[in-house]
Symmetry: C2
């Protein structure tokens, strides 16, 4: 394999050449608390929630996967747009999120039951240690754009979080960004 | 281990909190072709060539090391300031360089004898595949700043390159940046 460049536009999040995955409200509706509101939004144009653009890297040990993520500003009810989130199939592998634009909350939960949140802002580089699942909310008024680097053979497990949700939700209350307990998790 | 942020200033390369390594001409004089000129520069103030600022990450499998590198503009004779360069002790591990500021040339050599060069510019993300050694020259008028991500347990072998040099040198000739054969390697 030969060395190569991809080019990243820090203001749009474009990564070129890259392969894009697009998520609209209809693709991720189950992760929001207010399902009725989500259905209404789907009928009214089904807005983009986020996009991920992957560089073409072999999914093999020794390689480093990388991608940009663009989360658009918006809410479903009072809950901010966010990514599905994932655990790595190889649980013991870290990930790095370098924020390029916007304002975010990175939510994480460890396999032994801890949770944590970090602020994302231009220049923040968040370290997601091995054994922490992670999902990201855009809590600002513009696109949240960040660059992700991970072990290329880490694998992605989306199902666990889809079923369980996260311990906390990121919502707007009285104009403030707050974390509240996820009622699905306290049942 | 808990998740944590470091903060990177894209215009200065500061990474905070971080641990800084500083290289002056006296620290890296052996890598330049024009040793006499290097000795003269050491007597006249021994200028900074580059700095590396590391985030505090365990050097263990599953973790991702990361750092910023700041290469100052300058030359020793006609040869541009550059990093010592290294191979990974674990040869089969990749590295990523995301350029934040300035203009660079990334030189690489594979363990089976190929060589390659990539341009670095703001937004370029260079993929250094497993089994390629790498060193970087600042070919511009301002600091060259980039963010590096690597397998935290990769290890660094500086000695091989210090002994052998690289197949190519990055020099200025008639105001142009050119790669020339390294006379030490063609002997």
């Amino acid at each position: 394999m030969k060395p190569f460049n991809v080019v990243i536009d820090f203001s749009t999040g474009e990564l070129s050449p890259g392969k894009k995955t697009v998520r609209r409200v209809s693709d991720v509706k189950n992760m929001f608390l207010d399902r009725e509101k989500a259905e209404e939004m789907i009928k009214n144009g089904d807005p983009l929630v986020y996009e991920v653009i992957y560089a073409d890297i072999p999914e093999e040990a020794g390689h480093l996967g990388h991608c940009t993520t663009i989360i658009y500003p918006g809410k479903v009810g009072k809950e901010f747009f966010l990514t599905k989130g994932h655990l790595h199939e190889q649980l013991g592998t870290a990930e790095i999120y370098l924020c390029l634009r916007g304002k975010g909350k990175l939510l994480m939960e460890s396999t032994d039951g801890d949770w944590a949140a970090l602020d994302m802002f231009p220049g923040s580089s968040s370290y997601i240690p091995p054994f922490w699942s992670h999902r990201t909310a855009n809590v600002g008024q513009e696109p949240l754009i960040f660059y992700c680097i991970f072990h290329a053979d880490a694998g992605h497990d989306y199902a666990t979080i889809e079923e369980k949700g996260f311990p906390k939700l990121v919502v707007e209350e009285k104009g403030e960004v707050v974390l509240i307990d996820n009622p699905k998790r306290s049942r």
